[in-house]
């Protein structure tokens, strides 16, 4: 078994392309999030796209490659922050003498980027939560794989000695 002896990695071309695409996919994800109220997509879809960038990096570099770019502890806090932001945006309606989740901010003209009141802000909050949530999920699941690979390797070396 060649794969378990070496740290997990794919060919140079794949890794370079992944590194180049990483930024592009991130930008596309952000685009989908902030244009959620005027084009198809939104916080959730954009968040998943953003997380796909991390998943791609994970596929190309493995867990060791990813932790240099993103740390799951920080991502976990981002996730909670997104949820709190969403919660607070709901409260804006209550403070403005309407009810929870009421859309009370500046509505603007339909079709422009800055319009639709709280909805784009909520999209950003949801995007934050979903992107970091899915990324954390995948990173944590790959930690187990990383350690079991390491463990198998150590076991094999022990058997050889």
């Amino acid at each position: 078994m060649k794969m378990s002896e070496k740290p997990y990695e794919l060919s140079v071309i794949v890794r370079t392309v992944a590194r180049l695409l990483f930024g592009l996919i991130l930008i596309f994800g952000f685009y989908v999030i902030v244009h959620g109220h005027i084009t198809p997509g939104g916080g959730f879809q954009g968040g998943v796209v953003t997380a796909l960038a991390v998943i791609m990096l994970l596929a190309a570099y493995g867990y060791e490659g990813v932790v240099t770019e993103v740390r799951e502890k920080i991502l976990e806090r981002f996730e909670s922050l997104g949820a709190i932001m969403f919660w607070t945006l709901g409260l804006v309606g209550v403070i403005a003498t309407a009810t929870y989740f009421a859309d009370v901010l500046y509505k603007g003209t339909p079709g422009e980027l800055i319009s639709a009141g709280t909805i784009p802000l909520m999209n950003i909050a949801v995007g934050m939560k979903v992107a970091s949530g899915v990324a954390v999920l995948v990173i944590i699941m790959s930690i187990g794989m990383y350690y079991s690979r390491k463990y198998q390797k150590a076991e094999k070396e022990g058997a050889e000695e």
Binding site: P40, G41, Q45, L52, I55, M141, M145
Partner: protein, 83 residues
């Protein structure tokens, strides 16, 4: 049947075949890839039924995130479905 119904039916047939393959394959990695095919077909069907929001979500999740976590889980467990 008009062109729209025919294309929708074809897409749904692909979806259904993907689902059957996902259940049928003994190699779990193949099954997960078939599941991704099902999700892709479903996303296309959603798009044809004028639900682009849902189509994007289904495509990003079904072909991306869900496949990734399935593959990670299979990588940590076993690949063959035993009898």
């Amino acid at each position: 049947m008009d062109l729209y119904s025919i294309s929708l039916t074809l897409v749904l047939v692909v979806t259904f075949v993907g689902a059957i393959a996902a259940v049928y394959f003994r190699d779990l990695l193949n099954a997960v890839v078939a599941l991704a095919v099902m999700s892709g077909g479903l996303a296309l069907a959603f798009f044809l039924m004028e639900a682009p929001d849902v189509a994007i979500a289904e495509a990003a999740l079904g072909a991306g995130a869900i496949t990734a976590i399935f593959i990670l889980a299979i990588g940590e467990t076993e690949r063959e479905e035993k009898e």
